[in-house]
């Protein structure tokens, strides 16, 4: 920041000059986007926070104010707790499996190799399919009677293959697997881009210093990829907390696959409990903020060093 705006003039006039200039120019630039953002995002969010303390049914003009009653109820709501656990599972899988697999693939494809381009395209092709389409396809893969997996299992002589989405213990993992399938390509693309920015001289220097592969990876490449990892983690968090489409398409939240976003939607739009649904959304937002808080804290630290 300082490097961009610093000038060589003496201190006092600069200060005054800045006060005059800086005070309004950025706000002029910000006026339009902020206005739009405020009207469509901030105000509705605040309104929803207010709604979460009411019994609004989406229709009545003036809802009753309940204070934190909706939040208290969440603690004893079994489906809510189930959804919370499922979101945590989703998150745990998302920041481990697709991340490592995506990184591994990126490391492979970063080398010159025959047909590398086609392999890459294969892995990120799921990314262009919309989630409803992915949900449809995977619902058939898991179909117990004629689906891909069970056809194969029956073919090799398995007597009672699992019901997958119909099995209440397996269903959520099946959905997460489908989501992870899509995510791997995403992570791979991100890391590939990150590897492109890795300065080869640093790697060469490490090799000259006698680093073995493990050391090279652990002490040179991984730290250099840290900014990408941050982005990957942020995206994984966003995606796993907002997870909605696949659940809604594959099981409609039944079979113990409820996730917070879908449960909120069901409460608000199916049960006409907008206040309660808003409370779920607020919780979801607060959880997101815990994770983003870490990111922001890091950013603040970096910003202040400027």
């Amino acid at each position: 920041m300082a490097t961009m705006t610093s000038t060589t003039s003496p201190p006092a006039p600069v200060f005054l000059d800045r006060l005059k200039r800086v005070n309004w120019t950025p706000y002029l630039f910000l006026a339009l986007p902020l206005a739009l953002y405020f009207v469509w995002i901030i105000a509705p969010t605040l309104y929803s926070i207010y709604l979460s303390m009411t019994d609004w049914d989406g229709v009545t003009a003036v809802p009753n104010f309940l204070g934190f009653a909706n939040y208290q109820r969440l603690f004893t709501d079994r489906t809510f707790n189930e959804a919370l656990v499922n979101n945590v599972r989703w998150l745990a899988v998302f920041i481990t499996v697709p991340t490592t697999l995506g990184l591994g693939l990126a490391l492979i494809f970063n080398q010159e190799m025959r047909g590398g381009r086609w392999y890459k395209i294969s892995f990120y092709s799921p990314l262009v399919l919309s989630l409803p389409v992915i949900g449809l396809i995977w619902a058939w893969v898991y179909q117990p009677r004629a689906g891909l997996i069970n056809s194969l299992l029956v073919g090799i002589g398995v007597q009672n293959p699992p019901g997958w989405l119909a099995d209440r213990d397996l269903a959520i993992w099946c959905i997460i697997a489908a989501a992870a399938w899509r995510q791997v390509g995403y992570v791979m693309v991100l890391y590939l881009a990150g590897l492109k920015n890795v300065d080869p001289t640093l790697v060469e220097a490490a090799i000259v210093d006698g680093a073995n592969r493990r050391q090279l990876f652990q002490h040179v490449i991984l730290p250099l990829l840290a900014p990408v990892t941050t982005i990957v983690v942020v995206i994984s968090i966003i995606d796993s907390l907002r997870a909605f489409d696949l659940v809604s398409i594959m099981t409609a939240g039944n079979q113990r696959t409820q996730v917070l976003a879908n449960y909120m939607y069901i409460q608000a739009f199916n049960n006409y409990k907008m206040g309660y649904g808003a409370a779920i959304a607020v919780i979801l937002f607060l959880i997101s903020l815990i994770f983003i808080g870490f990111y922001l804290w890091r950013t603040i630290r970096d910003e202040l060093e400027y």
């Binding site: 705006t5 469509w40 709604l51 799921p126 919309s130 693309v189 790697v203 976003a261 922001l296």
Partner: protein
């Protein structure tokens, strides 16, 4: 399946700098990768195959059997009778203005946040970043009421506005971080030449940011194009619906006729595929710009 694969991958390759030993490692690597790729693509191929088959064929021989014949009837059916063509047009009418709107507006806010020191800088930046984490369901009913009171309910403009606004956070986040990587000397020189801030933004920063914006545009295109929920909430006329919401109608209409449904789904996917194929470079270049410092 995934964890085993991961360890296999990590140990075998580190940036490919050791050229000597590469030859020997080639064969198992290719076998492994090819196998993995095939497994990876099975669902996609299955969808493709299904869309060329007839339902009778599937009922008779099973979903994963070799098709007895290929035809394009399902696509024709989905395009005209199931109105996928019409839905696609709506998708573009919604997506393109949203895209340009969000890029233009976020370049303004990103410029302000990247180039100026002012008290609200960090708070506003964090507000945008936090906004990207917002579960959008929280906005649904308030936004519905808002469009309603503005008289925008059941118009494409309502969708354009909410998409633009909702993606402002992410775009600002990415562009602001990109703009901070631009060396300040360029602007100092421009200011010495007497350029005002708006001209610096318009004539220097925007052109410099084009690669980042192109990358963002690719990414955002797939996001906005694939949106489904806002369309359901803010539109009541089937004739205005974008293709993702239209697919839901199609699923009802063709119940268990998978071939027509997948054909429709693939048609709906086509624009994002095309964008991806042609703008792949931008997509890959730009995705990490947000983290570049």
């Amino acid at each position: 399946m995934t964890t085993a694969a991961t360890t296999g991958v990590n140990t075998r390759s580190v940036l490919g700098v050791s050229a000597n030993r590469r030859r020997l490692g080639e064969v198992p690597k290719y076998v492994f990768l090819t196998a993995l790729t095939i497994i990876w693509l099975v669902p996609v191929f299955a969808a493709l195959l299904t869309s060329f088959r007839t339902m009778d064929d599937i009922t008779l021989n099973g979903f994963w059997s070799i098709p007895s014949q290929f035809n394009l009837n399902n696509f024709a059916e989905a395009w005209s009778k199931a109105r996928v063509g019409n839905y696609l047009l709506n998708s573009f009418i919604i997506t393109l203005p949203s895209l340009f709107g969000m890029l233009f507006l976020s370049s303004l806010s990103a410029y302000a946040l990247a180039r100026f020191k002012f008290r609200l800088n960090l708070p506003l930046y964090f507000m945008f970043v936090a906004g990207t984490m917002l579960p959008f369901q929280i906005l649904m009913l308030p936004v519905f009421r808002l469009t309603n009171s503005l008289g925008l309910y059941n118009t494409h403009l309502a969708l354009i506005l909410i998409h633009t606004a909702f993606q402002l956070g992410f775009c600002t986040f990415v562009l602001r971080n990109f703009m901070r990587t631009v060396p300040g000397e360029i602007f100092d020189a421009a200011r010495v030449d007497g350029c005002n801030e708006f001209r610096i933004y318009w004539q220097i920063m925007l052109p410099l940011s084009l690669p980042a914006m192109a990358a963002l545009a690719t990414l955002e295109f797939t996001w906005v194009f694939n949106d489904y929920l806002w369309a359901i909430i803010l539109l009541s006329s089937d004739s205005l619906r974008p293709v993702t919401a239209g697919l839901a109608t199609l699923r009802g209409q063709y119940v268990t006729n998978w071939p027509v449904i997948t054909a429709g789904a693939l048609l709906a996917t086509l624009p994002t595929v095309i964008v991806f194929v042609f703008l792949q470079r931008y997509f890959i270049q730009g995705l990490t710009l947000g983290s570049g410092k």
